[in-house]
Amino acid sequence: MHTTRRLTSGLAALSAAALLAAGCGDGGGDAADVSICVGGEFATRPDGLPGLEEAYDFELPADAVTALDEDALVYSEVDAGNCTFGSIFATDGRVGALGLTVLEDDEGFFPPFNGSLTVRADVLEANPELEELFAPISEVLDDETMVELNAQVDVEGEDPEDVARAWLDENSDLVEDVDLSGASFTVGSKEFTEQLILGHLTMLVLEEAGADVRDRTGLVGSTTVREALLSGDIDMYWEYLGTGWVTYLDNTEAIPDVDEQYEALQAADEANGVAWLPPAPFNNTYAIAMTEERADELGISTISEMAELVREEG
């Protein structure tokens, strides 16, 4: 019958299209040895991939690099086996949860990325108690603590503000008896989990001291937040030493020692009207990770070994 013939020819066309679409490109889980997934900023930042390639003397072919603008996707893609290597953050909760292994930065390329609360110099001058208020809290924020807090959000699905509040409740003895009533501050943060937790933590602490707080957390992009600080749209946010030194102050050489790095940064950023409070112990450095299976398979545990692999097979 005509109708049936029409329908079948139509369906045939649709199925052919579907098959073609499915056939295009490779399926998942079968990545070439030399394939890396990188996050949005890591792809072009001088303290990211371009600098890494220079320091370790390797060059990835264009088709070996998958640029994922969503950092979160890097973890799932490496875990799924769609890329062998991935650019990750050292204090991210998913590294442990997914059983990823982090490659050793044996050439010491990555600068220290310890977290430090950056405050506009004029705001700090007007409210010197801020330093006293945040020092004891900053001191206890080590890698383990940050990984645990991040995991609560990224792995267990908790809300960053709730996580910050719960942690503050448990550690309320760390909040100094400082009076900031009458003062008002705008707190910013970047868009990823650790930043959101730190941003909310900062706001909760300020509120405990009696200050009025405006929430400007979750801004997208490091540069956006930094510009907001410089222009006065926000008064403070948590930044990382390495990011400040290499990306904002445009230095080519990282300073491996945390204290030296901090001092140099403090001195240099004075000119921009930005003050850095003493850094916390946690170092949320960029790192390269891979699944444990692939690491064993390829016998790679350092970035130098990865560089060698790229030179041989890239």
Binding site: H2, L14, A22, R45, P46, P50, T66, A67, T223, D250
Partner: protein, 270 residues
Amino acid sequence: MTAPTVDRGGDVAGAGDALAAEELVEELGGPSPLWRWVGTPVVLAGVCAALYVYVQGQDLDRIEEAALNAPMIRQRVLEHLELTAVSTFFVIVIAVPLGMLVTRPATRRLAPAVLAVANVGQSIPSIGILVLLAVVVGIGFEQAITALVLYAVLPVLRNTMVGLDQVDRSLIEAGRGMGMTARQVLLRIELPLAVPVMLAGIRTALVINVGTAALATFIGAGGLGWIINQGNIHDRTPVLVTGSVLTAVVALALDWIAGIVEDLLRPKGT
């Protein structure tokens, strides 16, 4: 001849208005064919030259250089063209047969349902479709193509339906009268006469795809959207300007090519 604009309200009479508009433009003395054929590429070449001069004149820092070097730009442009070409191909392959199917007397009642699905495909924000696909299926080129196809099916489907529906009934009857089968009537009378309207829809889908393909970067499929996003997250104006201008140039260039194809494929006598 300009394409009928995509009428989001679902008004199938859009094509009729557009044809009347075309006649009006011709009466008023619209752009001469020569200007249309030569003018656009000349202007686009000029824009590209100006962009090149602008970028060369900037003192690019390391982040900008990492995003704006020749190999990277070439890679992203090619990725973008690939995304657009493949998705438009599948849009045609899916929407044209579907349009033919739902204009046949026997299956006409399927039309509202099919149109509803196509409408939904275009109403959902593309970024939403991309995120859903990323979560459910995964990321990559195929997922980007799926999202692009879903988004651009509507104009081609509707224009195919309108094009076929507006063929003069008497011509179809004449064909049947001459002893043609229904299939012969479809292929030899209806389709050729529907081609101008169908091509207009395809041209619209093509340009829509170029714009939507800029979002493919968010699920790892690259394209010019990657350059735009780099300019955005790093707050680097030259990068943002380059990505945006190149996307616009690609859209206009493809539209120009489609216009020429439209002119060439238009059956003589329409």
